[in-house]
């Protein structure tokens, strides 16, 4: 469905994407994770033909992107993070306008409008001026506009930002239904639990490169079974930082918690010896399955708020 090979995009001397490779299969929900400046937005912009790239190959629907941009765009939709519609128009006028500029007419127009409205539960709001909608309703309209051309690929850039949990659940459920229609969804979000909830596959990007990619469940099992969280009685962060440098795979999660991943008996024994020598007492050691958030922090060294 999407094949990216050695894609390089530079802004001056800085490489936003550096020989980036990725393959996304049809009919899955694919999560794109990475800290700010990792290259997520650049990647989505390139896939939508909104940003040019210097090197590499991008193929969508087995068609080279550069030569077939118009054709590819007709089968894709980009749902931006911002509410990209007209607040002074009603819901219906907005949908009619975006259908109109895509030359969707006649019977297809009615079908497209019906589908976009029903999937996003917009029927009761159809004649409301968009400015008067709630945050969640506006997000649903933003998504509905993306569905008008019945796309095969949908790019979502943080579609649930700033809305209440109920509306967020609604939207996530809607996105999950796209998979049943064999559509491919590329999804970026600040919320790890959303990615865990709806994505089949995930790529974690940092500094313009993929640092981990795969099926989410497999990735968490593989990384999580091999990790340990060590809770300590209070000690100074400076000492922990010093210790973390001496043990491979050890990270300081907070002033009294360490994460060891991957762990094995040899590394664990070494860590415990060092802690004893430093007179730091261990409160608890937990061997547990890793959350996506912990994995993300582990791999990128970033807190969630930086994503």
């Amino acid at each position: 469905m999407i094949r990216i090979n050695n894609l390089t995009k530079r802004y001056g001397d800085t490489a936003a994407l550096d020989r980036f490779c990725l393959k996304i299969e049809r009919g899955i929900i694919f999560g794109l994770l990475g800290p700010n400046g990792a290259g997520k937005t650049t990647l989505i912009s390139i896939l939508n033909g909104l940003t040019r790239f210097q090197e590499g190959e991008v193929e969508i629907f087995n068609l080279p992107l550069r030569q077939n941009l118009r054709q590819i765009r007709k089968r894709c939709a980009f749902i931006p993070q911002s509410l990209a519609f007209y607040e002074n128009l009603t819901v219906h006028e907005n949908l009619r306008f975006f259908a109109g500029i895509q030359s969707i007419t006649g019977r297809t127009l009615q079908d497209s409008l019906d589908r976009a409205i029903s999937v996003n539960h917009l029927q009761p709001l159809i004649n409301r001026q968009s400015a008067t909608l709630s945050g969640g309703e506006k997000r649903r309209l933003n998504i509905a506009i993306g569905l008008l051309n019945n796309p095969d690929i949908l790019y979502f850039d943080e579609p649930t930002i700033g809305i209440d949990p109920e509306s967020r659940n609604d939207i996530l459920n809607t996105i999950r239904t796209f998979k049943d229609d064999n559509k491919t969804v590329i999804y970026t979000s600040h919320y790890m639990e959303e990615i865990e909830k709806i994505c089949d596959e995930v790529a974690i990007i940092n500094h313009g490169k993929i640092i981990r990619q795969g099926k989410l469940k497999e990735m968490l099992q593989q990384e999580g079974s091999n990790s340990a969280i060590i809770e300590l009685h209070k000690c100074g962060p400076t000492r922990l930082d010093r210790i973390s440098k001496t043990v491979t795979g050890l990270r300081v999660l907070n002033p009294d918690t360490l994460l060891l991943s991957p762990q094995n008996s040899g590394v664990m024994a070494k860590l415990l010896t060092i802690l004893e020598r430093e007179d730091i007492s261990v409160r608890q050691i937990r061997y547990q399955s890793l959350s996506l958030e912990s994995l993300f922090i582990n791999l990128t060294g970033q807190e969630q708020s930086d994503v």
């Binding site: 912009s45 939508n48 033909g49 909104l50 940003t51 040019r52 118009r70 765009r73 007709k74 894709c76 939709a77 980009f78 931006p80 993070q81 911002s82 509410l83 990209a84 519609f85 007209y86 002074n88 128009l89 006028e93 009619r96 306008f97 975006f98 259908a99 109109g100 500029i101 895509q102 030359s103 506009i145 051309n149």
Partner: protein
């Protein structure tokens, strides 16, 4: 696609009360106010020079001089009695402009080869030179008539009846001078409406800068343009979708303001607008002006980042174009250097075009230069806007 874009743009404008006020109400109100305010400036019935005649001679000739001055509709006789030098000085310091003193013996000496008793003209210290020259001219004309009359009386014994034959013709100025305004019919004369309607049409048309650029910037900042770009909307299509509706809005403005000039202004006591004879010429100028205004709007819209910047720059540019181009102060009031400089403002070209149509009653041939200059200016601005926008689009808007 264009239908959708046109409909969207109209709906957005129609729902923006501030934009509607700026585009339609503001210029209409300006036309009404300025037509009323300048009504007397263009009227020949307005007396605005105060004068008094102090007749010490008290003869038929001196009284005739006073009568002839009264006939001039630009002059207004001072109502307060002046009997002393002190009173005269006080009056000249107040609102009296000229005092003509006819000394004893003036009438007698008038027919002499070298009159021994001249008129004395006292002038207020703040009088403008052109007003002084005007009054002097009027006074000289009257003196010449009276002097010729006096000389004819002297010739009466030699040529009986000559005074009676010449009198009527001497006093009838219209038989000597016929005033014709350039390019107007004999019965036509310029009015404040003929001057102010073209000015405020031009100014109002350029006011689309503000709604047009603010809508465009909002679209850009909300990523609506990026979304449209992702839907295969090209820059030419996007620009055309903007240009066409605003051209229609500009034409509606012209119709509305001409209508105000013809139908509403006379209700308030000013002269109605005479719309000229050529719809084609009107279309040429208004289309050229529209392109110039739209081009300027698009250039501002793609160059700045915020709505606040667009409204500030758009407002300043509009007022500057208007002030330089003769919208706020008619060009004939400007000194020659300013009149030459006014050519830098596209509003000046549009104004000249409209004045050709409304004031001078000319047709398409007379306005073709202004129209093409305006269209060229507009296209150049659009081209620049396209270049800047294409660069920004390449960088992800």
């Amino acid at each position: 696609m264009f239908r959708a874009m046109l409909k969207k743009e109209f709906l957005l404008i129609m729902r923006d009360r501030h934009a509607l006020a700026a585009l339609f109400i503001m210029p209409s109100v300006f036309i009404l106010i300025m037509s009323m305010a300048l009504k007397d400036t263009f009227s020949s019935d307005r007396a605005f020079i105060n004068y008094v005649v102090i007749d010490q001679d008290r003869t038929a000739i001196s009284m005739e001089l006073a009568t002839l001055l009264k006939k001039n509709r630009l002059l207004k006789e001072y109502q307060q009695h002046i009997s002393s030098k002190k009173q005269l000085q006080q009056a000249l310091n107040d609102d009296l402009t000229f005092a003509v003193t006819i000394a004893v013996g003036f009438s007698k000496s008038l027919g002499n080869e070298n009159p021994a008793v001249p008129l004395t003209l006292n002038v207020a210290s703040d009088v403008q030179q052109n007003v002084l020259r005007l009054f002097e001219g009027e006074l000289t004309g009257i003196l010449m008539k009276l002097r010729i009359k006096a000389l004819l009386h002297k010739l009466e014994p030699a040529l009986p009846g000559i005074s009676a034959k010449t009198d009527a013709r001497l006093l009838d100025q219209s038989s000597l001078i016929q005033v014709r305004f350039n390019d107007l019919q004999n019965s036509q004369f310029p009015t404040s409406t003929q001057q102010s309607v073209p000015s405020w049409i031009v100014f109002g048309m350029f006011f689309i800068i503000i709604p047009m650029s603010t809508i465009f910037i909002s679209e850009r900042r909300q990523n609506t343009l990026m979304r449209m770009n992702g839907m295969n909307i090209s820059i030419p299509a996007l620009f055309t979708g903007k240009i066409v509706p605003y051209m229609v809005i500009n034409q509606i403005q012209v119709l509305l303001m001409v209508g105000v000039g013809i139908f509403i202004v006379p209700l308030l006591g000013a002269a109605p607008l005479t719309p000229g004879n050529s719809v084609t010429a009107l279309l040429l100028v208004s289309t050229g002006l529209s392109l110039a205004a739209i081009g300027t709007s698009m250039l501002i819209a793609v160059s700045v980042n915020t709505v606040e910047q667009a409204t500030t720059i758009g407002g300043i540019l509009n007022i500057l174009f208007g002030a330089i181009g003769g919208v706020m102060v008619p060009k004939f009031f400007m000194p020659p250097a300013m009149q030459s400089f006014s050519i830098v403002s596209p509003m000046s070209w549009g104004l000249e075009g409209f004045l050709d149509i409304f004031l001078r009653g000319l047709g398409p041939r007379a306005v073709v230069t202004e129209s093409f200059a305006l269209a060229g200016f507009g296209l150049l601005m659009l081209l620049l806007a396209w270049g800047i926008f294409a660069r920004r689009t390449g960088k992800g808007l």
